[in-house]
């Protein structure tokens, strides 16, 4: 930042990031800059419905570059290791392994979604706005992952949320899309109010907003357990909204169903991951001191959230008629699985349980995005949205259907994709920390999920196609994104070691 003026005393310079730290923020900056470039393109040539290629291409290149940057930083070991986190802007931003890991998730999802959107949005207006909003939301997510203070947490969370509201309502003349948008927005606004109030109470209990400062302030215990407790839970509520956890999940089925499918993909994968990223950081860094946990047992809260979330999500998903809504509920269910990581914190296996959650989010980023993008493909083909409408699709579009089957089985936790590994890692974590009840719930829900995921597979492959089933064309972008996601999902089964080490060490590094 250009604050290094000669007028200023030297200590100020220390807070300004040196050049190396610029590099650390490269993914975020790349995302933001791409959004700006898109603005420029749009202002040069507005209202161009046919210029989708350039826009989507630019956006995709931007996210891809950000992805590459994040991976490069991860590989280079920037900010990683115990105590190696890079603190920028006076602890307002932190770049460490976890932030980069999650940035990889966001940018991967964004890339896939943008590639798919190229076909989905063909001949539509407001494409530039669409990509800009998506990039800005991605930027917000990346910032969430590296937020170092409740202030940046809150603001970056809003940066991720506000474009999302608009994206959900993107199909302005579609009642479903608009209704989804208003519901998402209202629940979101309520949640952010609760979140803000929670932050104010945490500030009230500690006098600090910086995460590590809060931890320091709390390390000696506090008299204001009640205020802190309410604050912590309200903050948790804010994250629960973002991650679509019960009882802050109500927007999710509607939003995912009503939104354009690529946006659903984006929200259910990346946005959820972002919520978890920030939740993990806040709770692991700020609220972890033993003195807090004794009186404000937020692991109990997450325990309850996890239990209810996965149960409700899976049970509701089991009886859906529409595939997209089923996926929406299943997404709620998966939030419940990941919450186990938070519920099992401070039981002696922090690196393992959090790492497992992070791995699951990464795999989920691919498999769930892929699944929603397959829905996008179906919407593109206009085959209908119920399970029955998908009957026999396997005969018409075998490759996409194989990909979809990979997603479904991987989501269900069968060894056809990385979802198998990550889900069982979570289960390992739950068992290893003695959360047998959660493990049992996970078991029940997993069985149920197998049932409804396999319904999709059954429709695709086992049922006779309706006579009217006829698909037109094989859109390159959508196909590319779906198949790409499937390949990565599959490869993450044997290749899970590529990410598991990074995730677990990043998670371990959060704890001093």
């Amino acid at each position: 930042m250009a604050v290094g003026s000669s007028v200023l005393p030297t200590p100020v310079l220390q807070t300004a990031p040196p050049v190396g730290d610029w590099v650390a923020l490269a993914p975020v900056l790349l995302l933001g800059l791409t959004a700006l470039v898109l603005f420029v393109i749009d202002s040069i040539d507005p209202d161009d419905a046919s210029g989708g290629g350039a826009l989507a291409g630019t956006a995709a290149v931007g996210t891809l570059l950000a992805l590459v940057a994040a991976i490069a930083l991860l590989v280079a070991g920037i900010g990683q290791g115990q105590g190696g986190a890079l603190r920028l802007y006076g602890d307002q931003l932190v770049v460490d392994g976890m932030a980069l890991f999650f940035t990889v998730i966001f940018t991967s999802v964004a890339t896939l979604v943008i590639v798919a959107s190229y076909d989905y949005l063909r001949d539509r207006v407001y494409q530039a706005e669409y990509y800009v909003l998506m990039l800005l939301a991605t930027t917000g997510m990346a910032l969430m992952a590296s937020a170092g203070s409740l202030a940046t947490v809150f603001i970056s969370l809003e940066l991720a949320s506000l474009p999302s509201y608009a994206l959900v309502a993107f199909l302005k003349d579609n009642r479903g899309s608009v209704e989804a948008g208003i519901k998402y927005f209202l629940i979101g606004a309520l949640s952010s109010a609760i979140f803000a109030y929670g932050i104010s109470l945490v500030y009230g209990a500690t006098g600090q907003l910086g995460l590590e400062a809060i931890a320091r302030s709390l390390s000696g215990g506090t008299q204001l357990v009640g205020i802190l407790g309410v604050g912590v839970l309200m903050v948790a509520g804010g994250f629960a909204f973002k991650t679509a956890s019960v009882p802050f999940h109500f927007w999710a089925p509607e939003a995912y169903e009503g939104a354009p499918a690529p946006v659903s993909a984006f929200l259910s994968s990346a946005s959820k991951a972002a919520g978890f990223a920030v939740a993990i950081r806040v709770f692991a860094v700020a609220f972890s001191p033993q003195a807090v946990v004794a009186s404000v047992d937020w692991t109990l809260a997450f325990w309850l959230l996890a239990a209810v979330t996965m149960t409700l999500g899976n049970f509701a998903a089991a009886t859906q008629d529409k595939v997209k809504r089923m996926l929406a509920y299943s997404s709620v269910g998966h939030a419940g699985y990941v919450l186990i990581g938070l519920a099992a914190l401070n039981s002696g296996q922090n690196g393992l349980v959090l790492g497992a959650s992070m791995i699951h989010l990464l795999v989920y980023g691919f498999m769930n995005t892929g699944a929603f993008l397959f829905i996008a493909l179906a919407e593109y083909w206009e085959v209908g949205r119920t399970f029955e409408d998908y009957n026999g699709l396997g005969t018409q579009a075998p490759i996409a259907c194989v990909a979809m089957s990979v997603f479904m089985f991987s989501l269900a936790g069968l060894p056809i994709g990385g979802g198998f590994m990550s889900k069982y890692f979570i289960l390992v974590g739950a068992v290893g920390t003695g959360h047998f009840l959660l493990a049992a719930l996970l078991l029940i829900n997993s069985a149920l999920s197998l049932y409804y995921y396999s319904r999709v597979v059954r429709s695709l492959w086992f049922e006779e196609p309706a006579d009217s089933l006829d698909i037109e064309g094989y859109p390159f972008g959508l196909y590319g994104a779906v198949v790409g996601a499937a390949v990565v999902t599959f490869l993450l089964l044997p290749g899970i070691f590529l990410v598991s080490d990074a995730a677990i060490s990043a998670a371990s590094a959060l704890f001093v």
């Binding site: 060894p415 056809i416 289960l427 396999s454 492959w461 089964l493």
Partner: protein
């Protein structure tokens, strides 16, 4: 690297078949399946393992490569064979070839996918028997479900979707229960192990290094983990009362799939029981031996009684599998050379025999389009060779001497009768009564279907019985044209029957290595 080569061959074959044209898929698959078959037999012939894989024995064809590190644990790609896994791998490859051949006739739709899935299944099965790292093992263990689900649900009978999903969910729940139980043990072991290497875990557990987990003491933890793992594996075996997926799956599955299901998949359950419950937690198994034996005996008798009440040939064989697998459990719990070794031998034997019987039923079904005992009679007049095979298989199933079926059961009885748990003799004696009931229903079924005046009910065809026949059979409405089975239908039968007899006359071929692998398990106590 030879195990990897074996698995790789199967997987490669799977991929090749998926892209192969359907027309040649059957022949290509059969040909390809000979490669793993030959390789596994080569491995069998050159087998050099000593002792039990889990108890520090010398392994054959072992590989270890680090794969994933999961928090405190390292997951390795660790495979290797001992005298228990080697025969089971051979069984898998043999039955796969047999199943592929027996699929030529009934599978007329999407053949390439069918055979591709079968080869994928084979790869998973080999993996299950070869893996020595828990997670690797678990990947294969669960991977088996996927091709099986498709195989039942696409090529199955009228209620195939119900059966497939039931199989799918039921066994998956079981896996999860088992998984939780196993990891409770792992974490109970604490820092004493750094990887999920099953032999290391087994030895640590046997050395009594188990600590407590989440406030649960070692003894209780062990018992609970044992119960969870037993429950999990019991579904796969299956043990009464968690057996009900099996008849549905068998009845709906196309015959070649039934061959594999009964022949190999059920063995996964008992194999796992042997490896986990009865090797790692031998003390618990011995403490609760009587209860486990009770489950086994109930399975034997109850399964046989259920088979007695059935009208559908496949259901009969399916329930009798429940009964036969009960013997395996009974043998395992005995902790004698003949008990555990016999149980393993019975796995092989039952695999071959039930595969043979299912294949026979399939051949009959191919021409009659019914499996109902009441719907046909006197098939022997039209299908003499198939009938002979059926008869031979049925008698082997009944435990006729000089077939492997006799020895499998006999070893088990011999090993269990004087086993060290209370009431062993009584349990054995009651279980033996299964041989009478099994004779009852198989003889009844054969008498009704194979013998007597010839006749087939023609009004039974419901069009949807087999997806692939879809009513295009021109003369299905008229008198059934019951022909002799084609050579390629009979070859797998003959192959399996030959093995059944060879193993029945010269059990040492496999019992030798089995005994060698089982012996270290039996601490103290002569045979």
């Amino acid at each position: 690297m030879i195990v990897e080569l074996l698995i790789g061959l199967c997987l490669l074959g799977s991929v090749v078949l998926f892209v192969a044209p359907s027309r040649y898929a059957g022949r290509l698959a059969a040909g390809w399946s000979l490669l793993p078959l030959a390789l596994s037999l080569f491995m069998y012939a050159g087998f050099s393992g000593q002792g039990n894989a889990f108890l520090g024995g010398q392994l054959a064809y072992e590989t270890t490569v680090q794969w994933v590190s999961l928090g405190p644990y390292t997951l390795n790609w660790h495979v290797g064979l001992d005298g228990i896994s080697m025969p089971l791998i051979a069984l898998s490859t043999v039955l796969t070839t047999a199943a592929i051949l027996s699929a030529w006739t009934p599978i007329e739709d999407r053949e390439n996918q069918f055979y591709g899935l079968v080869l994928f299944l084979e790869a998973s099965l080999v993996g299950v028997f070869a893996a020595l790292d828990f997670f690797v093992w678990f990947v294969f263990w669960e991977a088996v479900l996927v091709p099986m689900y498709f195989l039942i649900a696409i090529w199955g009978g009228p209620r195939r979707k119900y059966a497939a999903i039931k199989f799918f969910v039921y066994t998956n729940v079981a896996s999860l229960v088992m998984f939780i139980g196993f990891f409770a043990l792992i974490f109970g072991l604490g820092d004493s192990i750094g990887s999920l290497d099953m032999p290391a875990i087994a030895q640590a557990l046997r050395a009594g290094e188990l600590g407590s987990l989440a406030g649960v003491g070692p003894a209780t933890l062990k018992t609970l983990a044992f119960a969870a793992m037993f429950a999990g594996f019991a579904v796969k075996v299956p043990v009464v009362p968690v057996h009900t997926w099996l008849p549905d799956a068998h009845v709906e599955a196309p015959t070649p799939v039934s061959v594999l299901l009964a022949g190999v998949l059920l063995k996964m359950g008992t194999y796992a029981l042997l490896r986990f419950n009865f090797t790692m937690l031998a003390d618990v198994a011995q403490r609760y031996a009587a209860i486990i034996a009770l489950f086994a005996v109930v399975s034997v008798i109850y399964g046989a009684l259920l088979a007695l009440a059935q009208q559908d040939l496949k259901r009969i064989v399916a329930y009798s599998s429940v009964s036969s697998m009960g013997y395996v459990i009974l043998g395992l719990v005995a902790y004698t050379v003949y008990g555990v070794g016999g149980a393993t031998f019975q796995m092989l034997s039952h695999g071959l025999i039930s595969g043979l019987l299912f294949a026979c039923v399939g051949v009959i079904y191919n021409t009659t389009h019914t499996r109902m005992v009441d719907d046909m009679s006197g098939m022997a007049a039209r299908m003499p060779v198939t009938t002979s095979m059926f008869v031979a298989g049925a008698f082997a199933y009944m435990g006729l001497p000089l077939t492997s079926g006799f020895l499998g059961e006999y070893f088990v009885f011999l090993g269990t009768f004087h086993a060290d748990f209370p009431g062993a003799a009584w349990f054995t004696a009651i279980a033996m009564f299964g041989i009478v009931i099994v004779a009852g229903y198989l003889l009844y079924a054969m008498q009704r279907t194979l013998f007597g005046p010839f006749g087939v009910a023609t009004d039974h065809g419901d069009g949807g019985a087999v997806r692939t026949d879809g009513g295009e059979d021109a003369d299905s409405g008229a008198e059934h044209d019951i022909k002799r089975a084609a050579a390629h239908d009979v070859v797998p039968l003959a192959m399996l029957l030959a093995l059944v007899i060879v193993l029945g006359v010269a059990p040492e071929i496999s019992f030798g290595m089995i005994r060698d692998a089982v012996a270290p398990l039996l601490t103290g106590g002569a045979g």
